[in-house]
């Protein structure tokens, strides 16, 4: 078992444990902090796959911006474990069972797929994840979606202001 495999399993276990903790935490602030741990673990996976640009963008956009937004909203509403809405046990059980059935079906599907056997993801090699190559592709082949996304951001900003406005 080499270093990459050890890191892969460590990051996977960390991510899944933190994701479960996001669900079971009563306090929403703790959920946000566990979710940040998940994002750090996923960034570690990106670095293992040598997708360095996405690793940094994931940290900046998700763990930095989006999670701060969540924390601000939670603190603005003064939510804590007491204000957690109650849900009955049968609904929770039904949710867990249906999610587990979904996981079972997809895992058995992947196990039966012959096309995937022997395929490996290239670890820590290959330079498509570097900023130079991604930027070149972004500003030649993908320049129109890139410009459209700026319009999307503008409309999202206007929408958030209009919705959040006190009238």
């Amino acid at each position: 078992m080499n270093t990459i495999q050890v890191l892969f399993f460590f990051l996977s276990v960390l991510a899944i444990f933190s994701a479960v903790m996001v669900l079971v935490s009563k306090n929403p602030v703790h959920s946000v902090l566990w979710l940040i741990t998940v994002f750090f673990a996923i960034s570690g996976h990106y670095i293992l796959l040598n997708a360095q640009f996405l690793a940094i963008v994931n940290l900046i956009v998700y763990a930095g911006a989006i999670m701060v937004l969540f924390l601000f909203v939670i603190m603005l509403m003064n939510l804590n474990a007491d204000s957690e809405p109650r849900k009955n046990l049968w609904m929770k059980l039904a949710g867990v069972i249906s999610g587990g059935c979904f996981l079972m079906v997809l895992i058995s599907l992947v196990r039966q797929t012959i096309e995937l056997t022997g395929k490996t993801a290239l670890m820590k090699e290959g330079n498509i994840g570097l900023i130079k190559n991604l930027g070149k592709a972004l500003f030649t082949d993908f320049v129109i979606p890139f410009e459209i996304s700026s319009v999307l951001f503008l409309s999202a900003m206007v929408g958030a202001v209009v919705i959040g406005k006190k009238d």
Partner: protein, 111 residues
């Protein structure tokens, strides 16, 4: 690393997100679980892009196959950022009207 490991890991994360959406009532936690599902898909896209890049590298050492997958991930992150800002504004508005973040209050939308 075999691609199956990545698929199993991402499926587990995605299922945890689904279970969260189905079982929690707090609208903010439900929203965070949607983010978790988006991240699982992102990781799988990057893993598949590296898989195709590794396969194409054997034929042509200067290939850039697989860049598309990583740019899709970038655009998913862009759209997710826009989605979160609007969604949190909606949750804040809902909290202001009902003084609760219980998603079951949203069924009042039908009246």
């Amino acid at each position: 690393m075999p691609i199956q490991y990545y698929i199993y890991f991402c499926l587990a994360l995605f299922s945890i997100g689904i279970i969260g959406v189905l079982t929690r009532k707090n609208a903010i936690i439900v929203f965070m679980c949607v983010e978790l599902m988006l991240n699982a898909v992102n990781l799988l896209l990057v893993a598949f892009s590296k898989m195709h890049h590794g396969a194409a590298l054997a034929a042509n050492p200067a290939t850039t196959a697989g860049v598309d997958g990583q740019l899709f991930v970038f655009f998913i992150m862009v759209v997710a950022a826009a989605e979160v800002s609007v969604g949190l504004a909606i949750i804040v508005m809902m909290y202001r009207n009902t003084h609760s973040v219980d998603i079951n209050f949203l069924n009042r939308l039908k009246n």
